[in-house]
């Protein structure tokens, strides 16, 4: 049964993950992004990167708590989509917002704290994406687990990035934090109180 369920999941999950991209492309085509489309694209791609990152982190707790083992591969799927949207986010920023003015990119990363943390978060996601092919996972062995534990740092930094840019309200960052913190707490609990059960 498991493989067919897994297949069905795949058939549902990929269209769901690609849908935001199609919506963005449609919005570009229809010129429906408002008077500052580059900024709007940056906002939306960033939001999807964070959403998929949090979804990815929810997979393991759900799998363990509900004993739903076929969902296990979704962790990797959502994680890679998160990286995909984060990469789009960075591309929109470099190409459309700064038009490849690398000096300004450098200045932003070094002098604007919210961009610094966003950049670090993206670098972590990049490393995680590069170490996610099955061959690399095998080669890294136990070390893979340690490397990929940094996904929590990436998520917290991405949350801080959002929190800093929307100063007048914490509604959006609080929403993500409410999902993220129990998941993080659960992993810490597993790690320190139920060693060997990871």
């Amino acid at each position: 049964m498991a493989p067919t369920l897994r297949l069905r999941l795949t058939l549902v999950v990929h269209p769901v993950c690609v849908a935001p991209l199609l919506a963005l492309l449609l919005a570009i085509y229809q010129n429906d992004l408002g008077p500052d489309p580059a900024n709007e694209l940056a906002v939306r791609t960033g939001e999807w990167a964070l959403r998929f990152l949090i979804l990815s982190l929810c997979v393991t707790p759900i799998r363990k708590i509900f004993d739903l083992h076929p969902v296990a591969p979704l962790r990797r799927t959502f994680g890679l989509y998160s990286f995909f949207y984060a990469a789009l986010h960075v591309c929109v920023y470099v190409i459309f917002l700064l038009q490849f003015r690398w000096a300004e990119v450098f200045e932003d990363v070094s002098e604007r704290p919210y961009i610094t943390v966003g950049f670090v978060s993206f670098c972590i996601l990049l490393v995680l994406a590069l170490t996610s092919p099955k061959s690399v996972v095998k080669r890294l062995g136990r070390r893979w687990v340690d490397v990929h534990a940094s996904v929590y740092a990436a998520a917290l930094l991405a949350l801080l990035h959002l929190f800093w840019i929307v100063r007048a309200s914490i509604a959006e960052s609080a929403f993500y934090a409410i999902i993220l913190l129990p998941v993080l707490g659960y992993r810490i609990w597993l790690r320190f109180f139920k060693l060997g059960q990871r």
Partner: protein, 346 residues
């Protein structure tokens, strides 16, 4: 110790809702009737008749109706912007549709599209403004009475948001200096503070548990900044009444300062001897000082201030331009700050 202060408005002064609602109904129906008779049903005729030289007008299919009948006569004659001086500019206007749909007005939500989407319950009439502090004529004034002595004029100003975007907006209004003179501030009045309406029933952003702004939103100017000829009280844009999302029924426009200084939907003006509290300075003092003059030299931790994006911009074409000190109004306002370290008083 319990300090009891007299409430600003006595309960007996408050109009019962039933009376208020029936009055509103009468006003709205009356306005419709008046327009129907005077202009053959065309509300576009009700304000700024064609051919009076206004540079900019709202598209005929989106014009707003008057908040109350007296607004119609108020808008009947508007002096066009004087060409060639600081009160106008030859730069391309930001289209009406963008001016009214891309707004920072956190009382209605933090996204740019929230103010137009969430301001449906906003009522710009009746409206009154409280005048208090170091002033000879304090009181609560009806907006109609406040506006009565002032002739409206068009002003085309650049608007520079601290978020590194800018617009060019054709406002309708009158000098803030004239409004201030009306209430006769005394010699202790060194600053003017403004407050936005606080009414969570009309302003959903104020109902949010997650807001970091302590309402009401407040802003302030030094008195010499306030009486500068460029400082404007706007009651309209594009020849039409101000939409709620742009700060109906009256707002401040200070074109040489970042946009957040131009406070919207003003209900209170207070004259003070010392520098008053301003909302963004209270929330993030490391980012925002009292002055908030547009200044490409002063670093901001979130956005570049040496360049700006003029809206609207398409995805593949850049409208990026250099930001000028005092948003290009330096010739008019630089003398206000002579001898001041603008990096320290940012």
């Amino acid at each position: 110790m319990l300090i009891k202060s007299k409430p600003d408005i006595l309960p007996s002064e408050i109009t019962p809702e039933s009376v208020y609602m029936s009055r509103r109904k009468f006003i709205v129906e009356g306005a419709g009737l008046a327009l129907g008779v005077a202009a053959g049903g065309l509300s576009t005729q009700a304000f700024a008749a064609d051919g009076d030289g206004l540079r900019a007008r709202a598209p005929a299919d989106v014009v707003r109706s008057a908040p109350a009948p007296w607004w119609v006569s108020k808008f009947a004659s508007i002096a066009p912007a004087a060409e060639g001086g600081p009160f106008s500019t030859e730069e391309t206007l930001t289209p009406y549709s963008d001016v009214v749909s891309y707004n920072n007005f956190y009382e209605f939500g933090v996204e740019k599209g929230d103010p137009i989407a969430n301001s449906g319950r906003f009522e710009a009439d009746p409206w009154s403004v409280t005048i208090e502090g170091e002033v000879d004529k304090p009181g609560i004034y009806n907006l109609e009475d406040i506006l009565k002595p002032h002739a409206l004029e068009e002003r085309i100003y650049r608007l520079r948001c601290v978020e590194r975007w800018s617009m060019v907006v054709p406002w309708i209004g009158f000098p803030l200096a004239d409004l201030i003179k009306q209430f006769q501030p005394n010699s202790k009045a060194k600053y003017v503070q403004f407050f936005t309406l606080f009414d969570p029933s009309q302003m959903p952003g104020q109902r949010s548990r997650f807001t970091t702004i302590s309402w009401p939103y407040r802003e302030g100017l030094r008195i010499d900044e306030a009486v500068h000829p460029l400082s404007l009280i706007a009651v309209g844009l594009y020849g039409n009444y101000l939409p709620p999302q742009n700060g109906a029924p009256l707002r401040l426009v200070v074109p040489w300062k970042y946009g957040f200084k131009s406070i919207k939907s003003i209900v209170k003006i207070r004259f003070t001897e010392s520098e008053p509290e301003t909302s963004w300075n209270m929330l993030a003092p490391e980012e925002y000082g009292f002055y908030a003059n547009v200044n490409p030299e002063v670093h901001h931790p979130r956005w570049r201030q040496d360049m700006e994006t003029r809206l609207p911009q398409s995805l593949f074409g850049s409208t990026r331009m250099k930001t000028e000190i005092f948003n290009g109004y330096g010739e008019q306002v630089a003398s206000l700050y002579s001898g001041m370290d603008l990096a320290r008083f940012y």
